[in-house]
């Protein structure tokens, strides 16, 4: 259980997040959605301890502020929105840094993670010469290796992902969402910042909808991804239906009137 209550974050004089409460359960995929600048990354950075904040943040009951970086590193791994690397590391070497951070001794873990994210055969490529989507998947492989097992000694491990699929094509978006889903189904916890509302509806158990540094509502996709909440958050008309195949998954499109009509 990841729990934040009465959370406040400020950048200089500007309060970005004010008295926010957020929680995520192990065994679930929790999505954070909301418009640009609504504070999604800030919330994620606050609960990883990357930026200063006030309020309570706990991981499975323990205050994360009193945990050492090395303790936390074996319990949760963090995928940043993007990562630049200073030196010509190969894909394999990057992933191995994650393997070591997680304290695993298995040298084949890196290979398994790379094939899981669809980068088998990329081991010897230089990271800086990959495309943006390939870099993001390489980083995901590194992060997976850090907390490979979803649970350890009856404790859940956690994946915290900032826009894991935004740079990816539709095939790899599905593949990465499946990886996150599997992790949660096997007892781990996943918190992911998402932009694609349809993928969120398909894969998430819980959705926190943010606007202006606040969580408008956190609940199941069916309860949060409604016309009322979404138009309040995004300020644009949306058309919500359910796809014929699966009766209760919301399906979100921009309002038809605004779409270019093909002749």
């Amino acid at each position: 259980m990841f729990n934040a209550s009465h959370l406040n974050v400020r950048y200089g004089q500007r309060a970005i997040i004010h008295d926010l409460s957020f929680s995520a359960k192990a065994g679930e995929l929790t999505a954070i959605v909301g418009p640009n600048g609504s504070g999604k990354s800030t919330l994620l950075k606050a609960i990883t301890g990357e930026i200063a904040s006030s309020g309570d943040i706990s991981l499975d009951g323990a205050n994360i502020r009193s945990a050492s970086p090395s303790e936390l590193a074996t319990r949760r791994a963090v995928l940043p929105q993007s990562t630049t690397i200073a030196f010509p590391f190969t894909v394999m070497e990057i992933v191995r840094i994650g393997v070591e951070a997680g304290g695993s001794a298995s040298p084949s873990l890196a290979l398994r993670a790379l094939s899981r994210v669809g980068l088998a055969g990329y081991e010897g490529r230089t990271y800086n010469e990959l495309s943006g989507g390939e870099q993001q998947r390489c980083q995901l492989a590194r992060v997976l290796c850090q907390v490979w097992e979803p649970t350890r000694d009856d404790h859940p491990n956690w994946l915290l992902l900032d826009e894991p699929v935004s740079a990816l094509d539709i095939g790899h978006q599905l593949e990465v969402m499946r990886i996150a889903r599997d992790y949660a189904d096997n007892g781990g916890g996943v918190i992911a910042v998402m932009h694609d509302l349809n993928l969120t509806a398909m894969f998430a158990d819980s959705v926190a909808l943010m606007r202006g540094g606040e969580i408008l509502r956190q609940d199941t996709p069916q309860k949060v991804l409604t016309n009322a909440y979404l138009s309040e958050a995004y300020g644009c008309p949306l058309q919500i239906s359910t796809p014929p195949a699966d009766g209760n998954i919301p399906y979100i499109l921009p309002q038809a009137a605004q779409i270019h009509q093909p002749r």
Partner: protein
């Protein structure tokens, strides 16, 4: 499956250059031993070093002249070359990892000037120290002052050029120029109040040289350099994680603040001691790690030891050239490293132009 994979602990895969790192380190170790022995035989007075070695192994001693040249002149100079060469290139490697930039070199960004300033102050003002204090430090006063100068400069540069985990190379280099200018100005003032023997010591700083190597110099510099070199491997994993950025390093369990303090102390110790005994020898710290990253990759677990070895080899070779180029005089080694390193540095600069514009 899990059991099988654990039974092959050092298996290596495509893109994994650990194996090559190990081979290169072994090859460099052998090359260093060979170069070091060979360097004992090169100089104004020829010394048939391999023949002497063979004689020595057969239990036949050295002539009086041979033993003076070998033990009092060549040997301390060789040891000093090894210490200084490895100190400079390991400092460069650590600094580049810390600043996340292949262009960060202690000599280039003013840490060398800071160390020199410390040393100059100690040389000139050392005579004003209370006798008791001067006696406590003895000949270590100059290296210690150089260490303090290097440490203060590194700290200053890091504070000035790094904000929110990102280092601006432009700011770093400009701040280095400011420190260099300040150091030059203060040395200028000190030269006026220096006496003749102090002046001779000072002139030597400008050039960078291993001439005048003595066992005393070796003994005062060796502890600081060895501590820095031996503690460097403890930084390897943290420096690897730092390549992904400070926050990712933190998420991977690195205590970033502690690691930075430790790295800055190691750089200051090695650079300070090296500058104190040899003056400003440039470009070693930038060229050596760059060459090694091309061949074994940037993994600091291999890069750090390999840098120490290759740095020592390159400095010994440069010193041999310095001794025979204009024999019987001794060319300052700083001139040679600058002639070779300058163009090479320009080449690295061209290839990394993007980094400066960031």
């Amino acid at each position: 499956m899990a059991e099988i994979s654990q039974n092959i602990p050092k298996a290596h895969f495509a893109g994994d250059r650990q194996q090559r790192g190990r081979y290169v380190t072994i090859a460099l170790s052998i090359a260093l031993v060979f170069t070091a022995i060979n360097s004992l035989g090169v100089g104004a007075t020829g010394l048939p070093i391999w023949e002497i070695l063979a004689r020595f192994l057969n239990g036949i001693g050295l002539t009086h002249t041979e033993s003076i040249v070998l033990f009092d002149i060549r040997m301390p100079r060789m040891v000093m070359g090894v210490l200084v060469g490895s100190a400079l290139s390991v400092s460069g490697t650590i600094m580049q990892g810390l600043f996340r930039n292949p262009l960060a070199d202690p000599g280039l960004i003013g840490v060398g000037s800071g160390a020199a300033l410390g040393a100059i102050i100690a040389i000139v003002l050392g005579s004003y120290l209370p006798a008791q204090l001067a006696a406590t430090f003895g000949p270590s006063l100059v290296p210690f002052a150089a260490f303090v100068g290097a440490w203060a400069t590194t700290l200053l540069l890091y504070r000035v050029s790094t904000r929110g985990g990102r280092t601006s190379v432009a700011v770093m280099l400009l701040a280095g120029i400011a420190v260099g200018a300040l150091s030059g100005a203060v040395s200028g003032i000190l030269i006026y109040i220096a006496d003749d023997s102090e002046l001779r010591d000072l002139t030597f700083w400008g050039m960078g040289s291993l001439a005048g190597a003595t066992w005393t110099k070796v003994w005062v510099a060796a502890p600081m350099i060895l501590i820095a070199l031996l503690s460097a491997p403890a930084l390897a994993r943290a420096l690897n994680a730092m390549a992904l950025g400070e926050t990712s390093a933190m998420h991977m369990g690195i205590n970033v603040q502690r690691m930075k303090r430790f790295a800055i102390l190691a750089v200051a110790g090695a650079t300070g001691a090296a500058v104190a005994i040899s003056g400003g020898i440039g470009f070693v710290g930038i060229v050596v790690p760059h060459l090694l990253r091309i061949s074994i990759g940037p993994d600091h677990r291999y890069l750090l030891p390999a840098s120490a070895l290759l740095g020592a080899i390159i400095l010994l070779i440069a010193d041999m050239v310095a001794r025979v180029a204009v024999a019987p005089s001794d060319l300052p080694i700083g001139i040679i490293t600058a002639i070779l390193g300058g163009p090479f540095f320009l080449y690295i600069l061209l290839r990394n132009r993007g980094m400066l514009e960031a």
